[in-house]
């Protein structure tokens, strides 16, 4: 097997607080191959964004990577110096943020923001940088890119701004892109355009994409594989179709039940009872045990097995396919 573009092994992020050590990301492992989109889903506070920030090295203090390894294109990056890490940001790893209205500097033209990024990472002349900037805008579907390069962010609509953000994140041609809720702040119709754009760019350029979202619909449409996170841990990881049609982790199952499905008509959505526990007061054993309909003694004692990410799927003592075999 070829080297995956991103390889995360046993990544743990810690936040020291007065009340003790919190672990918003706790021992997660996954790979993303070139041309592949990995969707990362979970509730707010499940550690999705924190994982992305850890990979690109933008954790806000006092959060820090406590253990584990992150490899990008076979190179370990979690031990790099600040300077080396800065150089790899933008060039190796691009990041797209949630809100296109606030991700662009309002006082600089989009051309300025593009060319400064290109000039920072690639050894090109000013003219070449500008040509590349125009090309980058064309690639993300900005009409009349040549004329609009001197426009300011406020002169674009929300969807167009997110295209500009994508162009900015990709203009130095990174091989890995972390998209942190790239469509959450957009209209539904624009969402579809943006996810289609991401998918196209991923395929064309052979980029690895980590798509962080809480929208199962976006995952179903866009991602190749999906990682479900719960309370900082990986609950389930597998190909999108399998996870959606036959979830193995009771939490994933709960998430799917809570997602509206237009084909089913107006059935009442089922919700997962309770709320995700606070990081400071995780129950022993499986973090999902207080809310899980299938909890047994073992779930409250031992943490569930984290099987090898490549074949194993659910971190659960009693995965759902096995429940299905047992008549209720």
């Amino acid at each position: 097997m070829t080297t995956p573009v991103l390889s995360v092994r046993n990544l743990t992020v810690e936040i020291p607080t007065r009340a003790g050590l919190l672990k918003p990301v706790d021992g997660i492992s996954y790979d993303i191959a070139a041309g592949e989109i990995l969707g990362v889903v979970g509730e707010s506070g499940a550690g999705k964004s924190m994982t992305g920030n850890a990979v690109i090295g933008l954790l806000d203090r006092p959060a820090r990577i406590a253990s584990g390894e992150i490899h990008v294109n076979g190179r370990r990056i979690d031990r790099l110096s600040r300077k080396e890490l800065r150089r790899s940001r933008g060039k190796e790893i691009g990041m797209i943020f949630q809100d296109p209205l606030t991700s662009l500097n309002p006082l600089l033209t989009i051309g300025d923001q593009l060319t400064e990024t290109i000039s920072e990472h690639l050894d090109v002349s000013d003219g070449e940088a500008k040509a590349r900037a125009i090309h980058a805008l064309e690639e993300v579907g900005i009409p009349a890119a040549r004329d609009r390069i001197d426009a300011y962010p406020h002169q674009f609509s929300g969807g167009m701004r997110q295209r500009v953000v994508i162009a900015l994140a990709l203009c130095a041609e990174p091989s890995l892109v972390i998209a942190d809720e790239p469509t959450t702040a957009l209209d539904v119709s624009v969402q579809a355009q943006i996810t289609a754009l991401l998918k196209r760019l991923c395929r064309e350029r052979g980029m690895a994409v980590m798509l962080v979202t809480h929208d199962m619909g976006v995952i179903a449409e866009t991602a190749d594989r999906v990682a479900v996170m719960y309370a900082g841990r990986l609950a389930e990881l597998g190909p999108v179709r399998d996870v959606i049609t036959a979830p193995m982790h009771p939490y994933t199952d709960g998430l799917m039940q809570a997602t509206p499905d237009a084909s089913e008509g107006a059935t009442r959505l089922r919700q997962i009872p309770g709320a995700m526990p606070r990081l400071g007061s995780l129950p022993p054993g499986c973090a999902f045990n207080p809310r899980c309909p299938y909890t047994q003694d073992r779930c409250c004692q031992d943490p569930p097995p984290t099987r090898d990410v490549t074949d194993g799927r659910a971190a659960c003592w009693f995965p759902l396919t096995e429940h299905a075999a047992i008549p209720a």
Partner: protein, 325 residues
Amino acid sequence: MLAYIIRRVFQSLLVLLVVGLVAFSLFRYVGDPIDSLLGQERTIADIDRVRESLGLNDPFVVQYYNFLANAVQGDFGISYRQSRPVAEIIAERAPATLELAAVSALFAIGLGIALGVFTAIRRRGIAANVIMSASLIGVSLPTFLIGILLIYVFSVELDWLPSFGRGQVTDLGWWTTGLLTASGREAIILPAITLGLYQMTLIMRLVRSEMLEVLRQDYIRFARARGLRERAINFRHALKNTLVPVITVTGLQLGAIIAFAIITETVFQWPGVGLLFINAIQFVDIPVMAAYLMLISVMFVGINLIVDLLYFAVDPRLRIEGRNT
């Protein structure tokens, strides 16, 4: 945008009219000018004659109009005390004040922004914390006390810098400057620091808090995620975004620097309009006071107009032209 400028100029003129009214009322109603002109030994006939010749019998509106018409032409009447045209006296004194104000404004803006950025970027550092604590002194000590302390340390104890006056002055015809001679430059240091210290600390604290706010913004995070250098992020992306509030406050403070030069000029016996004004108050020299009032208001209004125009230069969102979403 042109319409905006015209509107702002119009508003400025309105403000000046109101200030003119106050200045005129000073003239007209703070005591009877006849008293100071004719003294105790006067006849009814004298009073009537002078009243008529000064136009004091005209209706209020006509008098106000005449006052404004004269003021626009730079004629503020004759100083009671010096018996010379007020405009001439002020023109003589203005360069000293403006030079002092300009130097202390440069000091306040330059050092204020530099220290503000520094303390924001290294906000956990020891140096930044020392500067922040020291800046409390600048904010809390009154100007005259700072001036006296500076004189005590640098003039009396160390004997490095002069404690009063303007030093050697070069006459350029329409302008006198102290900046071309060594003694003039030495003389301006202490008053400029005294005058600008409060503004400097104010600008520094403002820049710092604005920077801290801006550095939390998404676009700064995104700039980091694109691998830009810290210097580009701090100065190109962050500092520029702090400028609108900084320009607002700086503009107002520039006016304050000119207006509060009164105290500094008194402490350092600086021969500017502020000192002139203090002396005018002592001798109830109303034409000088009125002219000073007008002069300061013209400067305030002018600076505010410039500040408003600077917003357009800094923030493209305010420019209406070329909006084509």
